[in-house]
């Protein structure tokens, strides 16, 4: 409570300073995880810039850490140095950004964390988190898997890049929920696909030689999920195999329309980016913003997919 008060005071004073310095525009700096590694992050960046341009009172500084924690920390330093009004961070690593966020907090610059949350130790230093709930997404995927298999079967899992927060959280949500809800479903093995479709395809090919019976495949995102699907199709074993993903990509959406892909979790980078900017603006306006702002990421399956637009990425 006191923290929140302190923080509100801090943000109010920053707003006051900014207002005094340059009319009514606020300067917001963002450092992103790794633009260009996949379409989600690229679309996010474009949507963020578009949203900022639509608002004449906002000036944004857009930086990209290229997936390197150390570079992201330097970028936070650079943003503090430029005395921006707020910093938005898409952490390359939830743990390692804590001291950098703490520094910004000390300087009275509010930090909004976007997409992938910061570690528990850093929660007191951030103004708010805005993004999807990756653990919840893992839970959704586990529930869909359980439902599709009727509570019985053998599955394999293709995870994202080892060591990355989103990958870890989705796997945790999935593993825990699956064990709890569906003890009849066994996981044969878990191997990484590095957020890379070709690698996921190779991983799945090896699974297919190793195991005679695979009833379902869970992939950390649809990009990898489609790679796994490709492998199963090529081996002539896709029939009856349940493919569940996360972060619905256009290729996953199309495969779902063809009836080859069972379901995924719908997550829009445009919503993600807009929510981040809006959260930062709310914080700067002195509104009482909750710490955790999850935007909705519903289940999407072959049955309900007509309620969703085809993803743009």
């Amino acid at each position: 409570m006191t923290n929140k008060m302190k923080f509100l005071l801090a943000s109010c004073s920053t707003v006051a300073l900014a207002a005094a310095a340059s009319a009514d525009t606020v300067r917001i700096g963002i450092t992103q995880n790794n633009v260009g590694i996949d379409s989600y992050q690229t679309t996010y960046e474009q949507a963020f810039i578009a949203a900022a341009e639509a608002n004449p009172d906002v000036e944004v500084i857009v930086l990209d850490a290229g997936g390197d924690v150390a570079r992201q920390i330097s970028q936070v330093q650079d943003l503090i140095q430029q005395n921006v009004d707020a910093i938005i961070i898409w952490p390359t690593d939830g743990q390692a950004l804590v001291p950098a966020v703490r520094n910004a907090h000390r300087e009275g610059i509010p930090v909004v964390v976007t997409n992938s949350n910061i570690a528990e130790a850093g929660m007191e230093f951030i103004a708010a988190f805005s993004g999807p709930n990756n653990i919840q997404q893992g839970i959704y995927s586990a529930e869909m898997m359980c439902e599709a298999l009727g509570g019985e079967g053998q599955i394999v899992q293709v995870t994202g890049m080892p060591g990355y927060t989103t990958a870890i959280e989705r796997q945790k949500g999935f593993d825990d929920r699956l064990a709890e809800m569906c003890p009849g479903v066994t996981q044969l093995d878990i191997q990484p696909g590095d957020w890379n479709r070709e690698r996921a395809q190779r991983t799945m090919e090896t699974f297919l030689t190793r195991f005679d019976r695979i009833d379902g495949v869970y992939s950390g995102d649809d990009n990898m999920g489609v790679g796994a699907l490709n492998a199963a199709l090529a081996a002539g074993r896709a029939e009856g195999m349940v493919f569940i993903g996360a972060t619905n990509f256009a290729v996953g959406y199309d495969a779902m329309a063809r009836g080859e892909y069972w379901g995924s979790v719908y997550q829009s980078p445009v919503d993600d980016a807009r929510a981040a900017l809006q959260t930062a603006l709310d914080v700067l306006a002195g509104e009482d913003v909750p710490k955790l702002n999850y935007f909705d990421t519903p289940k999407i399956t072959q049955e309900n997919m007509d309620q969703f637009d085809r993803p743009v990425f």
Partner: protein, 329 residues
């Protein structure tokens, strides 16, 4: 023209063209970004440079030897993981802030040990250092993943991450450590027997052997030095993060080599110095920082940095062949 060659400043710049480049980009960014030329920013640049810079000091020695070390990024990650993890070992639980000490010592020892392994293999097997350390780059990264179980470690003790916020007067402590290391390695290379041997071994190995230098152990010592510096860099980086991540230091070997080559050290060995290397790392640090401040889109940063590397290599070649008269690889 005569004046041009007599003026000591110009002559020095001619021998160290990278410092001319540093000066140009420094002036360029000072004029084009209002935030660049500020005490805080210059401090930032020094801190940001120290990570790559420390490793580059060791790489200079190794490359003057005619070797190379591609495993430094992985060594950095392994040392960072040790530095953060050992603090939370039960046996040091009662040590309070002193638990940091054994952790850091162990991390540095791990770095020296990894360097020793590389050096020993190069010495005993006679396999090219490029191959030995390419293998080690994969293998040590594998060790990092085995050790960390793919997770990030974080320091419970905030004193650890507060260390990086300390400063001596205007200089942040990380910058002070980096500059101290620059001075020590510069002294080692230019004023000691070991330094002279480093050039001798890289310049003409046969002559060095004839002169009684024990080439194998000598190279191993340089590998241990770079292992130590990579580990130190990892420890300092982990203090900035209060954590260690298994993917830390990916591709750093490429940036380190780039910086050292920009600084005028030759891959074929026998040539190079610390002043040049310092210029090389500052050039990269200033470019990165300045491009951040000017918001150059990330996609273009790749193109710009790559082109500069090739351009400097080209100019260096033109320039050096015309003044020395000799051909160099």
């Amino acid at each position: 023209m005569a004046y041009f060659y007599q003026n000591p400043v110009l002559r020095w710049l001619l021998r160290n063209p990278i410092w001319g480049f540093v000066l140009i980009v420094f002036i360029f960014f000072s004029l084009s970004s209002e935030h660049f030329f500020a005490a805080r920013n210059l401090q930032n640049i020094l801190v940001q440079t120290s990570t790559i810079g420390l490793i580059a000091l060791g790489m200079t020695l190794v490359m003057i030897n005619g070797n190379i070390d591609l495993s430094v990024g992985a060594t950095l990650a392994l040392a960072a993981a040790f530095a953060v993890d050992v603090q939370s070992w039960a046996m040091f639980a009662t040590w309070g802030n002193w638990q940091i000490l054994p952790a850091v010592c162990l991390a540095l020892l791990v770095g020296i040990f990894m360097g020793a392994i590389n050096g020993f293999i190069v010495w005993k097997t006679g396999v090219d250092a490029f191959i030995v350390t390419l293998g080690a780059m994969l293998g040590i990264r594998g060790l990092v993943f085995v050790y960390t179980g793919e997770q990030s470690f974080y320091a419970m003790n905030f004193a650890y991450s507060d260390f990086s916020a300390l400063s001596f007067g205007p200089l942040p402590v990380l910058a002070v450590i980096f500059l101290l290391c620059v001075l020590i390695v510069h002294w080692l290379l230019s004023r000691t027997v070991h330094g002279r041997n480093t050039y001798a071994v890289g310049g003409n190995r046969e002559a060095a052997v004839n002169a009684g230098i024990r080439v194998g152990p000598h190279m191993m010592i340089n590998f241990m030095i770079i292992g130590f510096l990579a580990a130190l860099s990892g420890v300092l980086l982990s203090t900035q993060m209060g954590a260690a991540t298994p993917n830390l230091g990916r591709d750093y070997e490429l940036w380190v080599i780039t910086a050292v080559v920009l600084g005028g050290t030759k891959l074929t060995g026998g040539k190079g110095d610390i002043i040049g290397t310092l210029g090389g790392v500052l050039a990269i640090g200033i470019l990165r920082n300045g491009m951040n401040l000017m918001q150059v889109p990330a996609f273009y940063v790749y193109v710009i940095l790559g082109s500069i590397l090739i351009a400097v290599l080209f100019l260096d070649k033109r320039f050096n062949t015309s003044t020395d008269g000799g051909l160099r690889l």
